[in-house]
């Protein structure tokens, strides 16, 4: 069975690397591309047609919110926001949800969460699996 294809959109290469490690730890998921802002993200979506997108919100050039506004029309990929401003109930989280984000996951320690793997790694994988209708895995 082919792996589900994930696109990671985050302006920090370190975060992209960390998120890739998290996603690739699941045998049924695979990071197929990166983008450092929304604009490039849209191009990648067009090229790669990923199953799901892990999206940061605060990015230069085109923010995650602006990218979602376009994705809501253009892409079929499911969007999961992973952002430091993604606390439940924050204005950005609400807007992301309004624009169709499946879920909004808060980065535990700011825009660059080196502890993302430890603290949210499992949650990210679970949310991805839920979004892609895969069975949940055990922790």
């Amino acid at each position: 069975m082919s792996k589900k294809q994930i696109l990671v959109v985050d302006d920090s290469f370190i975060m992209r690397t960390i998120i890739k490690d998290i996603v690739d730890s699941d045998p049924e998921l695979e990071v197929v591309g990166f983008a450092e802002n929304g604009k490039i993200g849209l191009e990648r979506v067009r090229e790669l047609k990923p199953d799901a997108i892990l999206l940061d919100l605060e990015m230069p050039e085109m923010s995650g919110i602006d990218m979602m506004k376009r994705l809501a029309l253009l892409g079929k990929s499911k969007v999961i926001v992973v952002s430091s401003v993604g606390q439940t109930g924050s204005p950005q989280a609400l807007e992301a949800r309004r624009l169709g984000a499946i879920d909004v996951i808060a980065k535990p320690s700011g825009a660059m969460s080196l502890d993302l793997q430890a603290k949210k790694g499992h949650e990210i994988v679970q949310v991805l699996r839920r979004a892609l209708s895969l069975d949940p895995t055990e922790a």
């Binding site: 920090s12 290469f13 809501a72 892409g75 430091s84 169709g100 535990p108 660059m112």
Partner: protein, 988 residues
């Protein structure tokens, strides 16, 4: 406004140039190899961007050309035609036309009409290839664009049509909620049409929403009233669609009928909203009971059900444009989803707060009104829930107390502190005695440094939290960090990690209110949000600025002049004359009476003290100037591609003219050369490439007959070796014909037959640089006139370079231009003859001497002196150059140095070309100086022995002489054309 307009026009010029430069190589490539999808997409985008830029500047002529070119590329992209040679040609012509129009447009800041023939050809080609005529309506359905190409929704005309379709058909979708199958039929039809239209426009998500709605409704065809789950599904789809319609409006700036859609929906929704809210309320009550009974499984199950129901209610609210109500429902949805996943523990206050919100929603739905919640009501409802979920830090900020009050942190950083972060801060500062710092870092600037810094951060420091700060369109991070290091030690540590401060931009200690910035390097940072200044660092990708070339030139000119002045200053301060004068003054004191002498010597000591200060300062300034000069020179380097990129086009055109098939390869495009070499090098390279194509590469039949592949290879390669740049032009053509050259050289009397026979082939090849020697049997428009290579060599020599030739009969020829890195900068000796200053490149100068006029002897018929045990022939420089009033010896009195002897002497410059040595008599020797070669006025270029011109610091023009030619000129005794006095004003 004027400045703004200038900036816009300049940007326009630069950006169109960038797009045109992208286009050309791709189109040139179109010939030998199949152009890839990406290339076509790139071409399409480039022409599309030019069209957009032209439209923005209101230059409709350019817009028209770009538009037609884009249309043609659209056909290629959609696979309706290939990028044929003739099509690529036409597009190249369009690019050329755009370039010309752009230049005119940018100069006059006004529209330039497009050539009607070009537009007509483009339109005709378009029609022929199956596109539509100019006046035909756009096709209702166009095959979906290729995946890599720009999608159709980038086309404003198509988009307008699409928006209109949604506006007309969108509201009809809401009939999908009607109670009878027949009443729902028009909604199915509308959904089908819109699904297809959205698909054509590449609005995949929109197409999916319409398609799913269509599918759901189709299953219910003929059925009566929809059952509750189906109704909710339809409602959910309609909610998605409403949002999408709103976004179409937001993105296009044209309302696609959001209000009409919401109104139509409201008519069909009926009491659905009320019923869902009531169901939600019931579930919430059950949740409270589960909690009271301590049944965690039931809590999770009910919370999950609530979350699903809230999602539907959210869609309904959104569909009805009740935005505030929808946001509150999202809060419920998220809260219950997190309770269901166990992420948030369900507590009684939380469930109570949710209950209060849901009760309000029920009340709001009961009225069935289409008014949204008031802002006050929404705020009140959310405040209650937030109070339960907000972090301690947020509460501390609101209270203005606690640990955070002592940290002078930006509010943005404070608000994202979690309870855990606060605990870390407390332990770190309170227990472990660490110091809090705020650091601003730009990690993308250099990944290696970033990794080192991260390793330090995770290994030796504690990162509490961080946030993204956008600085000039780049993401920087602001970190809250704890470190055991004192500010000074930290600054040292960070500088060791990042000496150029490429990543670490600012560090600030946080404990004291003053919040002093650590002196990481000279310039201190400023608060976030202001410009952040940095010390100059090595080239940072993404941190490049565009500077006009003239600005760099003028900076270098100023620096050049400064160096001249500094050199004069140095001469005045350090020159032998001033030292000797000091010594004389001191000796002078010997003759003074004692008391006066003491006073005099005290004053003299003062004077010496000041002199020493002067010397020191001069030394420092000279050093700084050298560094300044070096850095400024760095500004002048450009990739050699600036010269190379013009060539593929030329090769292609020539090859096609002559019916030759040539594979042209470029290597080392990124080798950097001095900017001034760009203009000087272009002509020789063009000439040599032409030569290679005209004479080197054989016609196809000849190649095939010789057993060579029909397709010839022509390679242009640049490489840097230390301070030297090699540019190699290699072909696999017929090679140089040594015998033919030998014959020509003898025929023209350049060598005797006997000498010619004795010369090796390699030596014979050098004769191709001799004037008037061409072995080409056919004289073409471009080459074969025997003047070319001579000028090529002269130009290369002028740049202080040389040309090497390797050639093998039947196998090809290889010319290598060997050039110094900063060829334009030459050290030269400035001499004076009459009123004219002349520069002799230092590399030709062997010595400078004052000779006794009496020591001049006639050797044979020529005036000579003995110099270092050799007979050195003397020539008046003025005479050699044919200046009026001849040379030095006759024109001016012998020079006398009062400090030396009373013997009549004259200055000479001994120059060599490596084989011969001569002495040039001049009026005065001025100084050694570095000169920038300027482009030579063409009227001066013809004069023998003049290799270039430069400007002295005082603005005087100085001719730079070519030592090699000077010696030839002197030795041959050829009467040169008079270099008359009017030469000076001829130089710009």
């Amino acid at each position: 406004m004027d400045a703004l307009a200038s900036t816009l026009w300049r940007e326009f010029a630069i950006e169109t140039e960038e797009h045109l430069q992208t286009v050309e190589p791709i189109l040139l490539r179109a010939e030998p190899q199949q152009t890839g999808k990406d290339d076509i997409a790139q071409l399409f985008r480039s022409f599309h961007s030019i069209k957009g830029l032209a439209r923005a500047m209101d230059v409709l002529g350019m817009e028209g050309v770009a538009h037609h070119a884009e249309n043609l590329l659209g056909l290629v992209r959609d696979g309706r035609t290939g990028l044929t040679v003739s099509l690529a040609d036409l597009l190249l012509q369009s690019a050329d036309a755009l370039k010309r129009m752009r230049d005119a447009v940018a100069a006059h800041r006004d529209d330039v009409p497009a050539a009607p023939e070009l537009i007509a050809r483009l339109a005709a080609e378009f029609a022929e290839l199956g596109g539509l005529g100019e006046n035909d309506p756009p096709p209702p359905v166009v095959p979906p664009a290729a995946a890599a190409g720009a999608p159709l929704h980038d086309d404003p005309e198509m988009l307008a049509i699409f928006v209109e379709m949604i506006e007309t058909l969108g509201s009809g979708l809401c009939a999908g909620l009607a109670d009878g199958g027949a009443e729902r039929a028009p909604a199915v039809e509308a959904a089908r049409t819109l699904t297809h239209a959205a698909e054509v426009m590449n609005f995949d998500a929109l197409s999916a929403s319409f398609g799913e709605l269509r599918d759901v409704l189709q299953k219910q065809e003929g059925a009566g009233r929809l059952d509750a789950p189906t109704r909710r599904e339809v409602l959910g789809r309609l909610g998605d669609i409403r949002l999408q319609i709103e976004l179409v409006g937001e993105l296009t700036g044209r309302d696609a009928g959001t209000a009409a859609f919401s109104a139509a929906l409201a008519r069909h929704v009926g009491d659905e909203r009320y019923r869902i809210a009531v169901a939600l309320n019931a579930l919430n009550r059950r949740l409270r009971d589960d909690l009271a009974e301590g049944d965690p499984l039931a809590v999770e199950a009910d919370a999950a059900a609530m979350s699903g129901l809230a999602r539907t209610l959210h869609a309904v609210m959104a569909a009805l444009s009740l935005r505030r109500a929808a946001e509150i429902v999202v809060l419920i949805e998220d809260l219950t989803a997190r309770i269901a996943s166990g992420e948030v523990a369900a507590t009684e206050p939380l469930v109570e707060a949710a209950g209060a919100i849901i009760a309000q929603l029920v009340a709001h739905a009961e009225t069935g009104g289409t008014d949204d919640l008031t802002a006050a009501a929404a705020a009140q409802l959310t405040a209650r829930l937030r109070a339960l979920t907000a972090s301690t830090a947020q509460k501390m900020i609101e209270d203005g107390g606690g640990l955070v009050a002592g940290l002078h942190l930006p509010l943005e950083l404070l608000t994202i502190l979690s309870d855990e972060n606060l605990a870390q801060l407390e332990t770190g500062i309170g227990t472990d005695r660490l110091l809090p710092y705020e650091m601003l870092v730009h990690l993308e600037a250099d990944r290696d440094i970033a990794r080192r810094w991260m390793a330090w951060l995770t290994g030796e420091a504690r990162a509490i939290t961080n946030r993204t700060v956008l600085v000039d369109g780049e993401s920087w991070f602001e970190f809250l960090v704890l470190s055991a290091l004192e500010p000074d030690a930290l600054a040292d540590k960070l500088l060791a990690l990042d000496p150029g401060r490429r990543c670490v931009k600012r560090v600030r200690r946080l404990t004291d209110r003053a919040g002093g910035v650590l002196a990481l390097a000279q310039p201190a940072g400023r608060p976030v949000g202001d410009d952040i200044s940095m010390p100059p660092s090595p080239v940072v990708p993404g941190n490049l600025i565009r500077v006009r070339g003239e600005l760099v030139d003028s900076l270098l000119d100023d620096i050049g002049e400064l160096r001249v002045r500094a050199a004069t200053l140095r001469h005045v301060i350090r020159g032998a004359g001033s030292r000797a004068m000091l010594a004389r003054v001191q000796h002078f004191s010997d003759r003074l009476p004692n008391e006066l002498r003491r006073e005099f010597l005290a004053t003299f000591r003062d004077f010496r003290e000041r002199d020493r200060g002067l010397l020191e300062s001069e030394e420092l300034i000279a050093g700084m100037l050298r560094r300044l000069h070096q850095s400024a020179l760095e500004l002048r380097v450009v990739p050699v591609d600036v010269v190379f990129n013009r060539l593929p086009r030329m090769v292609r055109d020539l090859a096609r003219q002559q019916g030759k098939s040539i594979e042209f390869a470029l290597e080392g495009r990124d080798v950097r050369i001095d900017k001034s070499m760009v203009d000087i090098l272009a002509d020789p390279l063009i000439h040599m490439i032409r030569n290679a194509i005209d004479h080197g590469i054989e016609p196809s039949e000849e190649r095939l007959a010789a057993g060579k592949p029909e397709r010839a290879h022509l390679n242009l390669r640049a490489a840097q070796h230390g301070s030297v740049i090699d540019i190699e032009i290699a072909d696999d053509g017929r090679g140089l014909d040594a015998e033919a050259i030998r014959g020509k050289a003898v025929a023209r009397g350049l060598v005797s037959p006997a000498q010619a026979a004795a010369l090796s082939d390699a030596e014979i090849f050098d004769f191709i640089f001799a004037a008037g020697l061409s072995t080409a049997s056919a004289i073409t428009e471009t080459s074969g006139r025997g003047v070319g290579m001579e000028i090529v060599l002269a130009t290369v020599r002028r740049l202080n370079g040389d040309i090497k030739i390797r050639s093998e009969r039947g196998r090809g020829t290889n010319f290598t231009l060997v050039l110094p890195l900063s060829a334009a900068l030459q050290t030269a000796l400035i001499v004076r003859v009459g009123d004219q200053s002349l520069a002799i490149p230092e590399r030709h100068v062997v010595a400078v001497a004052e000779i006794d006029v009496d020591a001049i002897r006639l050797v044979g018929s020529h005036r000579s002196i003995l110099h270092r045990q050799a007979v050195l022939p003397l020539y008046g420089l003025g005479q050699v150059l044919g200046m009026p009033n001849g040379g030095v010896a006759t024109g001016s009195p012998p020079r006398m140095d009062p400090m030396d002897s009373a013997e009549p002497t004259e200055p000479i410059v001994v120059i060599t070309n490596g084989r011969q040595m001569i002495g040039l008599e001049v009026d005065a020797i001025e100084r050694i100086q570095e000169l920038f070669l300027k482009d030579l006025d063409p009227r001066l270029a013809g004069f023998p022995a003049v290799g270039g011109a430069s400007m002295l610091g005082d603005g005087r023009v100085v001719l730079v002489l070519d030592g090699e030619e000077l010696i030839q000129l002197a030795a041959r005794g050829i009467e040169p054309p008079p270099l008359a006095t009017e030469t000076t004003p001829m130089v710009p």
